[in-house]
Symmetry: C3
Subunit: 206 residues, 3 copies
C-alpha cells in the first residue's frame, strides 16, 4: 500500500533529522542511531501507549529499525553535505509529518476513539518524535516555540477526518489529505508562517 511506502520514507527522513541534531550534541555512533530511531518511532510509540494499542508497530515489525538506523548512519556520513540537501530534507520532513498524522488518525479510528481523539492522535504521532529528540538534546522543543508545524498536523487530521465524515472512503481521503497537508507545510515554510507568541510578563518570577 502507498501509505506504507510513504511511511518508510517518512521514518527515514525523521531518523535523519534526529541524527543531525544528535551530531550537534556530539553524540557517538550509538547515540546517533538511538536518537534517530526515537525521533522516527517515538510519536507512534507514545500514541500506542496512550491508547493501550499493543503490540507497538516496531515491536511487531522490527525490520523498521533497519530503516531508522540506516538512515541515521547515512545522515551522519553525509552531514557535511546537509546544507545542499536542505530543500529535499524539508520536503521529506513535510511528507513525514503529514503521513504520520494520517497513520495516527487511522490507528485511533481502528481503536474506536472519539473524533477529537482521532485528530489528536494524528498530532501526537506527528510531533512526539521531534519532541523526544529535542528533550534528549536538552533544548526546549522547537515545535512548541515557532513555525506552522503542529498546526499543519492538526489541519491535516481535521481534513482527513472531515472527508471521512462527509462519506469519502479512507483511501480516497488519504489521497486528498496527504498532498494538501504537504502543500500547506511547504507554503508555511516558504512564507515563514507562524502562530502568535505572547510576550511574557516582565515581572514574572518563579
Amino acid at each position: 500500500m502507498l501509505l506504507t511506502a510513504i511511511y518508510l520514507v517518512a521514518i527515514a527522513a525523521e531518523a535523519a533529522s534526529g541524527a543531525l541534531m544528535g551530531m550537534r550534541r556530539r553524540m557517538d555512533l550509538f547515540g546517533i542511531c538511538f536518537i534517530g530511531t526515537v525521533t522516527a518511532l517515538g510519536g507512534g510509540s507514545v500514541r500506542d501507549m496512550l491508547l493501550g494499542h499493543y503490540p507497538l508497530g516496531w515491536v511487531a515489525h522490527p525490520e523498521y529499525l533497519l530503516f531508522t538506523v540506516g538512515a541515521a548512519i547515512a545522515a551522519a556520513l553525509l552531514a557535511r553535505h546537509a546544507h545542499r540537501l536542505h530543500g529535499i530534507f524539508l520536503a521529506l520532513d513535510a511528507l513525514g509529518l503529514v503521513a504520520f498524522t494520517v497513520i495516527g488518525c487511522n490507528v485511533a479510528e481502528s481503536a474506536n476513539a472519539p473524533l477529537a481523539i482521532v485528530v489528536l492522535m494524528g498530532l501526537v504521532t506527528g510531533i512526539f518524535g521531534g519532541l523526544a529528540r529535542d528533550v534528549l538534546c536538552n533544548q526546549v522543543p522547537l515545535v512548541l516555540r515557532r513555525d506552522f508545524y503542529a498546526s499543519v498536523s492538526l489541519l491535516t487530521g481535521l481534513l482527513y477526518v472531515g472527508l471521512q465524515r462527509g462519506g469519502i472512503a479512507p483511501g480516497h481521503a488519504t489521497l486528498v489529505a496527504v498532498p494538501a497537508g504537504c502543500v500547506l507545510r511547504l507554503v508555511a515554510i516558504r512564507f515563514r508562517l507562524g502562530l502568535p507568541v505572547f510576550a511574557p510578563p516582565g515581572d514574572a518570577k518563579k
Copy 2:
C-alpha cells in the same frame, strides 16, 4: 460529584501554570496550549500508563481538553496581571495537587493495587504534570529541588488511605483529606517549609 468539579478547577489551574511557564520560554500559541494540557493531564496519563488502566481519562472525555486549552489561553492573555493573582493561583494549585492526589489514589484502589502503590499513584498523579512541564521547559524539575510540595501529596495520600483503613467511607475520607492537604500546603508556603538539601561532594566529577 464534588470531586469532579474540583478536578475541573484543578486541571484549569495546572494548565494555567504550564502556560505561564511556557510563555517564559517564548512558546507560541500552540506551545502554550500544549504545555498547559500536558501539565494538567500528564500526571493522570502517566499513572494510567504505569497501571495499564485504559482508556485514559481524557481519551474517554476529550471535553477535558477544552478546559485545559481554554485555561492556557486565558492565562496567556492575563499573564501581565499574573502577579496580582499570585495568591489565588497558589491556592488553586494547592487544591489541584491535593485533588489530583486523592483521584490518583482512587484509580489505583479501583485497580486493586497494593496499599503502598495506591499512595504512590496519588503522588504520581499529583506531581508528574509539573515534572513534564519542567522537562519541556528545559529545567531541573522544581518539585525535586525544593518546597514542601511532593511531601504534601504523600501525606495527603497516606491520610486518605489511612482513614479508609480505619473504616471511613471513601467519600468521607475525601472530605477530610482534601481540606487537610490544602491547609498543609498553604502552611508550607506561608512558613517556607522545605526538606533538607544535601551538600554535593565538592570533589565529585563525572
Copy 3:
C-alpha cells in the same frame, strides 16, 4: 534465585548513581529519593509499557522501593566519601547494566517478542533509567555521547540470546552472559573504549 539477588544489588547501585547526580543539581531529600528510584526502576518500567506487560515489577513488588529509597539516602549520606568508593561503584554499575539486560531479555522472551526485540528490550532495560536520570538533571544523556556502555548491553543481550538459540538453557546462558558482560564493561572502562563520534557539520544551523 541468583538473578533476583543480583537484581536487588543492581537497583541499589543504580539508585545510588541517580542520587549522586541529583545532589549535584541541589535536589532535596524527596528529589534524591525520587531520582534514585527512577534511575533504578525506569528502564524496566519503560520496557514493560512498550511491551504492554502489566503489572510493572515494582507495582507488584512495592518492597523494591525500599531498596531504591534506602540506597538513595545512603548514597546521599556517604557522598563525601564517594570518590573513595568509585571503583566499587563502577563495578556495581557494570553488574547492574548486565543484570538489567539479561532480565529485560527474559521479560521480552516471555512476552514472545521477536528475537531482535528481545535484544532491544535488554538494552531498554539497561539504559533507560540512566536516560531518565539525565533528562531530569537537564543534561544530554551520557549514554548517547560516549563510552562503551550501551554497546555492552547490546553485546550481552546478543550473547544471551545467541546461547539460547544454540541450545543452552536460559539459566546456563545467564551464568555465561552476566560475567562476560561485566568483564567487557570493565575492560571498556580500563581501556577507555568508546564508539566513534562524528564531527558535526560546521555550517549546520537550525
